[in-house]
Symmetry: C3
C-alpha cells in the first residue's frame, strides 16, 4: 500500500470574508490555498464570504495558480452547506474540505451533492473531499470515514474543535501525538493521506515546527497554516531528509541485488530488511520524486 | 458541546463494612462520598456492608450533608446487584457507581432496575449512573456506554481492574495517559464528564498529584480518593488556574468585540481564535463559576 | 482473568530457505523457533522453503527439541496458504503464525483449514494460531481477532508491516508504545497473550532491550528475535523481577491474613490492596512458577 494523496506540505487558510488576502495567498509559497467559509467567518457574513470565494474561483482558469484550490464549506448539518457547494463547485476548485465529519454517511451525502453539482455544470473530473476529523465521534469512526468513498483523498486533523470544548490542553504533546497516530492509521487503512492540524499560536514558530516534525515522523504529508509565516516551516519539514532518501535508495539497490541472488532477507545500514522495508523505501523514493528532490533518481 | 457532570473534584471511597468511617467522610472536605459494596468488601461481609450503607443513606435527609452521595454496588453479573440496589435506592442517594460495565446493554439493564426501584419508592428524580470503565472490553466500548442512556452522568476510570490482572505497570505514565485520553474522548462524545481513577499508593502524594494533574490537562473533572489525605490534592488540582480563567475571559471579551466588528477570527495572547476556542473559553468560565472561583465574573 | 499463553520469551525467526540454520536455532537458548515461509522468502523460492520446513518438522519427534515449533505461513489471500498448511501440519508443529490477519473471518477460515489438515492426518491435539496484528485494519479489529476462535493463543505485533509502508518512524517510541498497549488490551480482552514485534536493527542491542522492556511493562510475554544475539536479551527481560515476585508474595500472604480477619482492603508496601491487586499478584506468581524462578514458592 503506497499512500497516495495530494502534495500539500502547506495549506494556507484564508477567511472567505477577506477578499484582499486571496491574491496574496496564491502568490505565496503555499502548496494549497483553503478558502474558509466556516469557523473563521461570522454567521452574519456567511453569504458574503461564499460570494467572494465563488467570484475568485470562477475568475481564474483551472490550475493557473499552480496551487491546489480548496474551499472549507460549512458542515453538512448547517443550512449553509448546499448554498456553499452550489456557489463554489467550478473547474477552478480542486478539493472540498468538509468539516465535522462523523460517519461514512456524511461522506456519502457530501459526495452525492458534489456529483450533482458537477453534472449540472458539466465538470468531468470528480472534485475530491478532504475530510476533517475533529470530534470524538469522527475520530472513533475515522477509518470508516476514510474508506467511505473514493472521493476522500485525505483526512485532515482538527485539534481546536476536538480539544477546546472538552478542555483538553493542546500543549499536552502526548495527547496530540496519540490522536495524530490514530488519524494516520485510519488514513493508512484507506491508502489515503493524512494532514496535520492548524496551530493557533502564530507567534510560536518553534512550537509549530515541533508539532509538524512529530506529524512527519508519523507519515503525515503536510500541515495547515493559519498565518503566512507558517508556510516555509511546513514546506521545510514535510520532505524526506537527504539521509532518508539515500538509505531508501540503498535498500532498493540491495533488494534488486538480493533478488538476483534469490535471497529474501538482507542487511542494510545494520538493519535486517525484508518485504515491508522494501515497500517503505519505495514510498520514500516516490515521495522524494514527487517533491522534485535532487537526491532521488 | 459544553461538558456537564456532577462537580466531584474529589470522591472518597469508604468500604461499606466500615460504618465508623462514614460520618468522618461526610465531615471531610470531599465533594462526594462513595460507599463501596464491591472490591473493598469481602464476599462474607457483603450483606452486612449493604445493610450499613442502607442504614446510613436512609437516616440522613437528602442533600443534608452537602456531599454527593454514591454507592458502588456490585457488578450486574453478580447475585449482589439486585439486593444492593433494593437496599440503597432512597432519596438520600445521588448516584449509583456501576463497576465493570462492558456494553450499552449493561447500562440499559441497570437503568431499568433503577427505574423500578425508584417507582416502587415514589422517588421522582432519576438517580444517575457513574459507569466504571475498567476492562479492555469496557474501554473499547466506552463511547457506546457513555451514550447508552441519559442517566449516565460520567465515566469513571479504573486502573486497578484494567491493568493489574494483565500485568500492565501502573507506573507506566504513557500507558496511563493513553487510557485517560481514550476515556475522556468517549465521555466527550456523550457530552458527559470523566473522572480519574483511584491511586493505590497512599504514601505517595506526589504521584497522586502528578496523575491528577495529567487528568486535569485532559479535561477530567475529578479523581477518586481512597485515603483522606488525597482529598485536598484533588480539590486543589481540579480547578482552572487563575491564568486560564483570565485568558478565557479575554477570549470572550475579544469575541464580543469581534462580533460587533463582523470579524470571525482574531488574536488573543498570540493565539488565533475562532469558534471552537470561544466555545472552550465559555466552558472554562462556566466551570470556574460552578466552583465559585472569584476571578470568574 | 489470568492471561494464558505459550511461554515464548524469545521466538527466533529462521527463513525457510535457509535449511542450514534450523539445527542451530533448535540448539540455541530460544524458547520458540519460527520457520518463516513469508516475508523473508522470495517468491521464486516459496516452494523450496515450504519443503525444507516440512522435512524438518516431520523428521523430529514432537517436543523432542524442547522448543515451541512454529511456522509463519503465507497470508490467507495468497496462493501459498493452502500448500503451506498442507505441507507443515504434522505432530511436530505447535503453532501456525498467521500473517496480516484483518478480521475474525480470517481466523475462522484458517481454523477450518487447520481442522481439515489435522483430521486428515489423525492429529488429535488442535494446533494453535498466533495471529499477526500488522496492518491498520488488523489493529482496529484486534479484539475481534483475538476472540474469534479458541485456537488463537496469542497476538503477535508486527511493526515493519504496520509502520514502514505508511512512513511511520519506528524510532518514535510514543507511536510504538501506543500500538503496543492497544494490542495488549485486545489480547487481554480474550484472555490470551501478546508478543512484541521483531526489531530490525540487529546491531543495536540496547534498542532491542529498550523496546522489550517497554513491552514487558505492558504485560507482554515475549518478543521476536531475528538474530541469535537477541535471544539472551529477550529471555532476560521477559521475567518478573525478584522484587516483583517478592511483592506479589507479600500481597498474597496479606490477602490470606485479611480474609481470616474479614477485611477487604489492606495495605502492602504502602499500597492499598483490594481484589484486582490480589488477582494481579496471583498472575505474577503463576508466571514466575511457569518460568521456574526460585523466589516463587
Amino acid at each position: 500500500m503506497t499512500v497516495q494523496g495530494p502534495l500539500m506540505r502547506s495549506k494556507l487558510f484564508v477567511p472567505g470574508s477577506r477578499a484582499e488576502l486571496l491574491p496574496k495567498a496564491v502568490a505565496s509559497e503555499t502548496d494549497a490555498v483553503s478558502i474558509d467559509l466556516e469557523d473563521a467567518v461570522q454567521e452574519a457574513r456567511k453569504a458574503e464570504a461564499r460570494a467572494t470565494a465563488a467570484r475568485f474561483l470562477h475568475a481564474a482558469p483551472p490550475a493557473s495558480s499552480g496551487k491546489i484550490m480548496i474551499v472549507r464549506v460549512n458542515a453538512l448539518a448547517t443550512a449553509h452547506f448546499e448554498p456553499d457547494l452550489d456557489a463554489v463547485v467550478c473547474p477552478g476548485l480542486d478539493l472540498v474540505n468538509l468539516p465535522k465529519v462523523e460517519s461514512a454517511d456524511d461522506i456519502r451525502t457530501a459526495a452525492a451533492a458534489l456529483r450533482r453539482c458537477e453534472s449540472e455544470r458539466g465538470i468531468g473530473r470528480p472534485i475530491g473531499i478532504l475530510a476533517n476529523i475533529e470530534s470524538p465521534r469522527g475520530l472513533r469512526r475515522a477509518a470508516e470515514i476514510a474508506t467511505a468513498d473514493p472521493r476522500v483523498v485525505g483526512l485532515q486533523l482538527g485539534f481546536a474543535d476536538l480539544f477546546e470544548p472538552l478542555g483538553i490542553d493542546r500543549q499536552d504533546a502526548a495527547a496530540v501525538r496519540q490522536v495524530q497516530l490514530a488519524v494516520r492509521l485510519a488514513a493508512g487503512e484507506a491508502g489515503i493521506a493524512a494532514y496535520d492540524a492548524a496551530f493557533a499560536a502564530v507567534t510560536d514558530p518553534a512550537g509549530y515546527r515541533r508539532e509538524a516534525a512529530a506529524a512527519r515522523r508519523l507519515g503525515y504529508l503536510g500541515k495547515s497554516c493559519i498565518h503566512p509565516s507558517q508556510i516555509a516551516i511546513a514546506n521545510d519539514v514535510f520532505r524526506p531528509s537527504d539521509e532518508e532518501i539515500a538509505h531508501a535508495q540503498r535498500v532498493l539497490d540491495a533488494a534488486r541485488d538480493a533478488e538476483g541472488r534469490g535471497v529474501g532477507a538482507f542487511t542494510v545500514d545494520g538493519k535486517m530488511i525484508d518485504a515491508p522495508f522494501v515497500e517503505g523505501a519505495r514510498a520514500v523514493v516516490a515521495l522524494a520524486r514527487r517533491l522534485g528532490l535532487g537526491a532521488a533518481q
